[in-house]
Amino acid sequence: MFDFLSDYDILGAFWTTVQLALLSAVGSLIWGTLLAAMRVGPVPLMRGFGTAYVNLVRNIPLTVIILFTSLGLYQALSINLGADRSDTANFRLAVLGLIVYTSAFVCEALRSGINTVPVGQAEAARAIGLSFSQVLRLVVLPQAFRSAVGPLTNVLIALTKNTTVAAAIGVAEAALLMKEMIENEAQLLLISAIFAFGFVCLTLPTGLILGWVGKKVAVKR
């Protein structure tokens, strides 16, 4: 009953899923950190931008954002992110959409981490003459990241599963292949179970490893 599986490149599809997840994770970690820095910073304009961004983006369905990158950016505005083929372009647009969306959640996870750092830490850092960005980089964020490992793990797991939305614009990742296989084969339950198992294989170790890391790096007070 498993014969038909050899006709499909399941591992290849999951590899695309992993690539989507990793690239988006790195991108949204960077952009989310910058957003968090804006939200706690002293410049009102940046604070306002950060707040507006988070409240706007996290309330828009991911499907809408992903479809907009393809229909709006790619087809209407011809923004292809330097890709010469449409499947490469779709992949990059999907990563962009996932970064735009996920960074709002990274920002908030980090901000909750920043709130666990006692005010005295930043005061002591300012008192020895560190600038705002040094206070953030050298004292506050290193401690904030350590206590935000738990919430950030949740964001990463959600991101991994959210990559399935990229199927909406034709990125050949796991969910798209699953849809194709379900249409072609009369094995609905088996195929669903295989893909569900595949995602658990990606996310379960992520949660366990990062849970261990979170305990390991926790700041003792």
Binding site: A124, R126, A127, G129, L130, V139, P142, V219, R221
Partner: protein, 258 residues
């Protein structure tokens, strides 16, 4: 303990180092600092005492602008306190601060705590910073704890590290905001001894404290605050034996005789 120079050479010169002129501050409706005028000379040790809520901690925190003021002026070494930014950071590096709750950087070792400002603000190279950090830790008697994290130290040890961290910046003046108030009684003396030594070495110090013994033995001048005002300023002998104001007499009668 080894001798380490802690103050810039110009400390020996006379003159006004910290000048506050008619400083006012409100917390909402509460007028916490009311027309404060205070001048601290180079090398002087000024102890600020007073009942809780009298504004003495706030006063201490305004001097390096951890609290902003509503009106009046504050000048350090002839320069008015700049607004937030690079200038202010540069000035803060010259003003050492020791907090009630120590506030050592929790993710860094004791040694790294004392090195951080030297490297990032004073731009010293790592080996010079480490050498000075170890000498200062030795001076405050916690050299053996250099590789530990703050949470592994007792309160008294943490506070002595915090003093070393402030001294590492070679400050012109040191602010102490109730440095012994969060300590177990048995650890208070080890911190006070370090502060006494510092006072003897000629460091300019502004100390907010409830330790009357320290005020008597180390202070050049006692400033008594109540309800946001400076009620009385006097030499410690005169203040403790013969306070002029009723408010100070009342305060001293409650804390001294039992």
């Amino acid at each position: 303990m080894t001798e380490v120079s802690v103050a810039k050479e110009d400390v020996a010169a006379t003159g006004e180092l910290v000048v506050l002129k008619s400083v006012n501050k409100h917390f909402g409706a509460l007028h916490v600092l009311q027309d404060i005028d205070l001048t601290i000379a180079r090398g002087e040790v000024v102890v600020v005492i007073g009942p809780s809520g009298s504004g003495k901690s706030t006063l201490c925190r305004t001097i390096n602008r951890l609290e902003t003021i509503d009106s009046g002026s504050i000048a350090i070494d002839g320069k008015p306190l700049p607004a937030e930014g690079r200038e202010l950071a540069r000035l803060r590096a010259d003003v050492g601060m020791v907090f009630q709750s120590f506030n050592l950087f929790a993710h860094k070792t004791v040694l790294e705590n004392v090195m951080l400002g030297q490297i990032k603000v004073r731009k010293k190279d790592k080996s010079a910073a480490e050498e000075r950090a170890r000498a200062l830790l030795d001076r405050v008697g916690v050299a053996a704890q250099a590789e530990k994290y703050p949470a592994q130290l007792s309160g008294g040890q943490q506070q002595r590290v915090a003093i070393a961290r402030a001294l590492a910046m070679e400050p012109k003046v040191m602010l102490f905001d109730e440095p012994t108030s969060a300590l177990d009684p048995e650890m208070i003396n080890e911190v006070l001894e370090v502060m006494q030594q510092l006072a003897r070495d000629g460091m300019t110090m502004i100390v907010v404290t409830h330790e009357m013994g320290f005020a008597r033995s180390a202070a050049n001048r006692v400033v008594f605050m109540a309800d946001g005002r400076i009620v009385e300023e006097a030499a410690p002998d005169q203040f403790f034996s013969n306070p002029r104001s009723d408010r100070a007499k009342d305060f001293l009668s409650k804390i001294l005789h039992h």
